[in-house]
Symmetry: C2
Subunit: 194 residues, 2 copies
């Protein structure tokens, strides 16, 4: 049951059997149906979640009220609005499940307990936040610097399985283009054998 | 000499006098003239720097080759392309000084030595990366979701001293508008008493 999450954190640190148990005892496993909104703009994010199964997305609304997908997250990824979670301030983001999902969650209290008791988890969370930062930074640079076709190529590199799992609408909302344009890019790349 | 940087890190952890000395002995202080590029696209970022004095910016080139400022950093901020630094991969970003600056730098070897010797620095760097992530996330949401006037208001909230310190050109390149438009927004806000 906890094999995946333990594999995920022991990339960065090693744990004794007692520490493993202490960690997994703090996790709350939630089964969440698809299309459930876990966080809304204006709310405070109370979870940092490891995706055991499923697919989620984080999005915001643009100045015309249109949803813009910021990132997708699937098995073995962590998801949270860490800025809101850490400082307990209102989020500007939404997080929702796109598939039926199983998520192992920490809340601010259990996370602090874990860090107090097993301080080497500081390293785990530092590495996770760094990866999150790296993803967001690439997302920002790609929004600023790349054409829609380049953004699509970058997207399938980061998320190779997503095109098979989510509706084209969500991919369009990530790339900032219309659904029709996603089809056009995919056909164009398919004809080039990409 | 090290007062500011020690104050900066002891927000998150407490240090013994020996740990303080171990930390400060690892820092390399560099005086860097203004308009020096410290990192270029394609290079690997070899520093994580605390700004003791000065002002820097991080930017990328958009698909038309125009500079887009991603963030500014002044006294008491840290600056690095942490994604490039951590995984030793090519950066997509540029970092340059806008004023004569004094920066305390760690490189990958000295940072690792610090974390090995004083593991509680994991917490410091986790908190710093989280703040960096929070800044970038707000930057991304504001790029996606807000009008130019709202972006300017957000900008002066995050960087109250920057309008007095840098040329209007850089502020325009942060907001994604023309220099003239920055003037117009500032006049409009001044007449409203903001």
């Amino acid at each position: 049951m906890y094999e995946n999450i333990l594999k995920n954190v022991t990339r960065f640190i090693s744990l004794t059997p007692e520490e493993e148990t202490f960690f997994t005892d703090l996790l709350v496993c939630k089964s969440i149906p698809k299309k459930t909104v876990l966080l809304r703009e204006g709310e405070i994010c109370q979870f940092e979640g490891f995706i055991h199964k499923g697919c989620l997305r984080m999005y915001c609304l643009n100045d015309k009220g249109v949803e813009v997908t910021i990132l997708f997250a699937i098995e073995d990824w962590w998801i949270s609005d860490i800025a809101s979670f850490q400082d307990q301030v209102s989020s500007k983001l939404y997080i929702e499940t796109l598939e039926d999902s199983e998520i192992y969650m920490l809340d601010p209290t259990t996370k602090e307990k874990l860090l107090q008791e097993v301080p080497k988890f500081e390293r785990v969370f530092r590495m996770l936040v760094q990866r999150n930062l790296s993803t967001l930074q690439n997302r920002l640079v790609s929004t600023i610097a790349e054409s829609a076709s380049e953004r699509y190529l970058e997207f399938i590199k980061v998320y190779p399985s997503i095109p098979q799992r989510v509706a084209q609408y969500y991919i369009a909302s990530y790339l900032g283009v219309s659904k029709e344009f996603v089809s056009t890019i995919r056909k164009r790349l398919a004809s080039k054998g990409k």
